[in-house]
């Protein structure tokens, strides 16, 4: 039996967009154990809640993550609105749904590109990111920001999408869907992708459930948890099924994300068809006094914002639990027993967002 050695993986590694460190205990080329350590980019965003007034903290909540920023802002606003018993206008809820789904599409396309890059499929990486640009263009046109949208506020949204722009968006989705189908076929059917992903990093249904996996990581293992089904924003009025795969390997997690892009396109279409006319915001009166756990489905999984107010302009406590943090224990489980060469693919398969995780 050969000697065990420890190979450090990260925090700087070509495949990692953000820093996380893993100590890989190897026996020959096989990983026996992976020991993660985090904390390289902690920014202390939660503490800032005491220094910024609660309406301005939305800007900070949004900047927790550069990819799913809209959903961070929305979840925080939902929490404060619940504490203050604010009734958000229906149109604002639909607009939030539309922007959330565009965020999901752009996040998944970003991940698909990175995943292709990790596999070494440069052409597919470029093709995914070219498509992602068209989603970002829509976000910029409707909110003013490509990546940090800044369109959510306590009590509603800052901007409305005019009817003709909404029609134009839905029309453009047809071309987008057609182009994405071609890329999706490559991800789902191509020989080289399947060779790198099928049977790699398997997470069983039981492990996914007990280790607290969320989002596509859980759904790839057959755990049908999708918080959008709880009906926050306008999801209660939209028909969709959570995308679930049962294999639990990297291919399944990739397939979940590919299919979720199609599901998002469908949700945007339904929301655009059902969106009512009316106000887009209500003015909050008074200050939040109370506490609330607000949950939403990010592209990476379940996001929790805890807010606590004492009746002043500043909240007392904010706590953000991001999906990547809960996906780290399943990642450690997936890595045990894999080949060293598969580690980058497995690490990427949980869609790690470290900046988000460390806040």
């Amino acid at each position: 039996m050969s000697r065990r050695i420890i190979v450090p993986f990260g925090p700087q590694h070509p495949v990692l967009p953000e820093p996380i460190h893993l100590d890989l205990v190897l026996q020959d080329e096989r990983v026996v154990e992976a020991i993660p350590s985090i904390g390289y980019i902690h920014r202390g965003l939660e503490t800032l809640v005491a220094k910024r007034e609660y309406p301005e903290y939305v800007y900070i909540a949004e900047r927790t993550c550069g990819i799913c920023s809209f959903i961070h802002g929305m979840t925080y606003c939902q929490g404060v609105e619940q504490v203050m018993n604010l009734e958000v206008p229906e149109r604002a809820l639909f607009l939030r749904t539309i922007w959330s789904e565009y965020s999901r599409m752009h996040s998944h396309l970003l991940w698909l590109g990175l995943f292709a890059d990790a596999i070494g499929f440069e052409n597919l990486f470029m093709a995914s990111w070219r498509l992602r640009e068209s989603v970002l263009d829509v976000l910029e046109e409707t909110t003013g920001g490509r990546v940090i949208q800044g369109s959510c506020k306590v009590g509603g949204v800052r901007r409305d999408i005019p009817g003709e722009t909404l029609e134009c968006m839905v029309r453009d989705l047809e071309g987008f869907e057609r182009d994405f189908k071609e890329i999706a076929n490559v991800f789902l059917r191509d020989e080289s992708i399947i060779a790198r992903t099928r049977g790699v990093g398997v997470l069983s249904h039981g492990d996914a459930y007990h280790l607290g996996a969320v989002g596509p990581t859980a759904r790839g293992s057959g755990v049908a948890i999708d918080l959008r089904k709880t009906g926050y924003a306008a999801y209660g009025k939209i028909h969709f099924k959570p995308v679930v795969e049962t294999d639990g390997d990297c291919y399944a997690r990739c397939a979940v994300r590919v299919k979720e892009v199609f599901s998002s396109i469908d949700i945007v279409r339904q929301a655009a068809a059902k969106i009512p006319e009316g106000e887009i915001e209500v003015k909050p009166k008074g200050n939040p006094n109370g506490e609330c756990f607000s949950r939403a489905e990010q592209p990476r999984g379940e996001l929790v914002h805890y807010v606590k107010g004492d009746g002043s302009r500043h909240l007392v406590r904010s706590r953000i639990r991001t999906p990547t943090l809960t996906n780290v224990p399943p990642l450690v489980k997936m890595l045990a027993g894999c080949e060293l060469a598969d580690v980058p693919v497995i690490v990427l398969s949980i869609d790690p967002c470290i900046g988000c995780m460390e806040r």
């Binding site: 910024r52 301005e56 800007y59 597919l124 093709a127 800044g150 059917r189 020989e191």
Partner: protein, 133 residues
């Protein structure tokens, strides 16, 4: 399972024009509401300091005595908060980004030229001080 699944997309890409723009020869894509950089109309600023208080990143500094309004371009996160809260509507969000810089010279100081903000309610006094300045 399929082979050469990417071939069609890849070949078509070579026939199409590039997806990226030849910046700066071709200007960057902006929309009417794109957030690029904050600018101030110094003739309308009443030095209330609202933008400074509400700025989430603490990039704006208003000194009432010296009548200056300054913004640190490297701290500004272009969130549009100052533009929304400004009671005098003197701040605007331009669509073009601030140019990149090689040394830290991001703090831009603007001299506020609006004189005597208390003037409008007292009509008589306004004329007198207007002659003086």
């Amino acid at each position: 399972m399929a082979f050469f699944e990417m071939a069609k997309t890849a070949i078509l890409t070579t026939l199409k024009s590039p997806a990226t723009r030849r910046y700066p020869a071709v200007s960057a894509k902006v929309t009417a509401i794109s957030r690029g950089r904050v600018t101030i109309d110094p003739a309308r600023c009443i030095s209330c300091g609202m933008c400074m208080r509400k700025c989430p990143s603490g990039a704006i500094c208003v000194v009432k005595d010296e009548k200056t309004w300054s913004v640190d371009r490297l701290k500004c996160v272009v969130c549009n908060c100052c533009v929304e809260v400004c009671p005098a509507h003197c701040l605007t969000m331009e669509t073009g980004y601030s140019p990149s810089m090689t040394v830290h010279e991001g703090i831009e100081v603007v001299q506020i030229t609006y004189v005597k903000p208390e003037r409008p309610p007292q009509k008589g006094a306004e004329e007198k001080s207007g002659q003086g300045s």
